[in-house]
């Protein structure tokens, strides 16, 4: 660009490149803030890089958390085990979304005769949202097979997944309910006045708007589920967290946990970006202008 940006005092109006004083000022501000940001980041990072190794236990922590050899040896096994996490996620997610939606609908039922349904849905979300997921998994995962079912009906994969569906559908139901309630009452009124039944109003008018609105919080729950899938390891299956734990004990080294964390991050970051993308596309499609 122009190498000779003169000082502002030299400038009556515009300079040779045709920039206004305002633009030159803004550009200078911009550069200044980039330099400041770079400097402060460097200082913080340098402080961490210099100060952390000065702590007395650093060499031990480094040996046990950032061990290249252990990482290389355990990572392929972790990758194998991670496939199980993906599978469990893949077969749980559809059930969770479906069951959660049904619960949300049941909670929104307005027919007096169906009040018990509404009561059930309310109690269900109260209970399963209140109980930690880990307890649900332990209770269902160890409890139900203990009833003496025979294989394959006592499989920990089956009951672990059931527990995840039970717990997560409660969260998801609340998200759907929030979406449904966020659709303005006038929409229902308009649909009913056009002659749509209450069921068709829900199906064709309310739900399409509601679901679109709750995609981001739903993805939030899905990312959370992605991580909680690892809890199934408590009832037997060796997935990535357990594999990392086993390797950790075997090598007496925590590097495998770092490897597992890396796998989860590698998965959730693209997921999050995908949601951002979907959101932007939807905003463009619905024609709303983004205010910056």
């Amino acid at each position: 660009m122009n190498a000779t940006v003169p000082g502002m005092s030299d400038l009556p109006g515009t300079d040779a490149s045709g920039l206004t004083r305002r633009q030159i000022f803004e550009r200078r501000q911009r550069r200044r803030s980039i330099v400041v940001a770079a400097l402060s980041t460097t200082v913080v990072i340098a402080a961490i890089v210099i100060l952390v190794p000065m702590t007395p236990g650093w060499y031990r922590v480094r040996r046990s958390f950032f061990n290249g050899e252990t990482f290389a040896e355990t990572f392929p096994r972790l990758l194998d085990a991670f496939v199980l996490d993906l599978k469990i996620f893949a077969w749980c997610a559809p059930f969770i979304l479906l069951w959660g939606l049904l619960l949300a609908l049941a909670r929104g039922v307005r027919t007096p005769a169906l009040f018990p349904l509404r009561l059930f849905a309310t109690a269900y979300t109260d209970v399963f949202r209140g109980v930690p997921v880990i307890l649900t998994i332990l209770l269902v995962g160890f409890g139900v097979p203990g009833l003496g079912l025979s294989r394959p009906w006592n499989s920990p994969y089956l009951w672990g997944s059931v527990a995840l569906v039970l717990a997560y559908s409660a969260y998801v139901a609340e998200v759907f309910r929030a979406g449904i309630e966020s659709v303005h009452e006038s929409q229902r009124a308009a649909a009913r006045s056009l002659g749509l039944s209450s069921g068709r109003t829900m199906r064709h008018v309310v739900l399409p708007q509601a679901i679109r609105r709750v995609v981001p919080p739903l993805m939030n729950d899905m990312v959370s589920l992605q991580k909680d899938v690892a809890l199934i390891s408590l009832i037997g299956p060796i997935e990535v967290l357990r594999q990392a734990g086993i390797d950790k004990s075997k090598f007496a080294n925590f590097t495998p946990y770092l490897g597992a964390a890396l796998l989860f991050i590698l998965l959730t970051i693209p997921e999050t970006r995908l949601v951002d993308h979907l959101q932007n596309r939807q905003r463009r499609r619905t024609g709303a202008t983004a205010i910056r």
Binding site: I34, Y59, I235, I238, K248, A252
Partner: protein, 292 residues
């Protein structure tokens, strides 16, 4: 502009990670925290974390026959008896012996410990010995298989008979390593946080058999799970691995030398054998399973 700022931050963060992971060789130097010092003569040089008291850790809960009734203070159970005898040799009795609890995994961490030594059937392995220190062995045990009557493992006389068996074991133990490395079953074993999980899975028939150390196996079959029996053991002579149990210390704790002296006295005086006789079942007559 925000985007540029975050780019700068991301680059800097990347540099930090590289700095943390890279160059494993350059600072092995600070690791020379006098490993030779552990060989120091016992004498009066036996510091404990709380002066005048010795702090001993065990599992939470601690299991029979190692600690009876989860009450190590009583000295009942093999490990409780050994720990109290060691403490007495070092000159600590009565209220000067403090018991704390840790999980199995928790103790195999780098850094400072809140106990002088920890005992919950820690097998001495070279990998673990890089992070923590071990005393000389106070007991040696074979791996053993427990199964319910009529299970696929019943009647096995060699490892070849066991490849199609679904196994379970506590995660992070040498028992699980034994399944994976020696038996190498065709279906992946299940792993649990503790033996309670493995036992529940055995009772629910989710697994055909579990692998534990022999004294635990005998206790489970005799007392805990009705209808179970010890299918066999894998002594070193049969190609298996014999586990040496050691007291676990913070890395390079000078107390190790003192405790080793105490253990030697107890071994030579016949107390260790007497404790084993008193608290552990007679393991003669458990069939031996051939390996390979």
């Amino acid at each position: 502009m925000n985007r540029r700022l975050s780019l700068v931050a991301a680059l800097a963060a990347g540099a930090l990670v590289l700095a943390a992971c890279g160059g494993d060789d350059e600072d092995t130097a600070p690791a020379t925290e006098a490993p030779a010092a552990t060989e120091a003569p016992a004498g009066d040089d036996c510091p404990t974390i709380t002066e005048g008291k010795i702090t001993i850790a065990t599992g939470n809960p601690a299991y029979s026959p190692w600690v009876e009734n989860d009450a190590p203070e009583s000295g009942e159970g093999f490990e409780a008896a050994v720990a109290l005898a060691v403490a007495e040799e070092l000159g600590y009795t009565g209220e000067n012996v403090v018991w704390v609890r840790t999980t199995f995994d928790e103790a195999i961490q780098p850094g400072a410990k809140n106990f002088d030594f920890n005992l919950q059937q820690y097998s001495i392995t070279t990998e673990r010995a890089e992070i923590v220190s071990f005393s000389d062995p106070y007991y040696s045990s074979n791996q053993a298989i427990v199964a319910l009557a009529g299970s696929a493992a019943e009647g096995a006389t060699s490892v070849a008979d066991l490849v199609d068996v679904k196994f379970g074991a506590q995660a992070g133990t040498t028992s699980l390593d034994f399944i994976n490395e020696v038996i190498q079953p065709t279906t992946e074993p299940f792993a649990y946080d503790d033996n309670a999980g493995a036992k529940a899975a055995l009772e629910a028939a989710q697994v055909d058999a579990i692998v534990v150390d022999l004294p635990t196996a005998l206790y489970i079959s005799a007392v805990e799970i009705e209808g179970s029996s010890v299918i066999g053991q894998f002594p070193a002579t049969a190609g298996g691995t014999t586990d040496d149990f050691g007291l676990l210390f913070e890395k390079d704790n000078p107390l190790v030398a003192c405790v080793n002296t105490a253990l030697a006295t107890l071994r030579d005086g016949g107390q260790l054998d007497a404790f084993a006789q008193q608290w552990l079942s007679d393991n003669a007559g458990v069939p031996v399973i051939a390996v390979g």
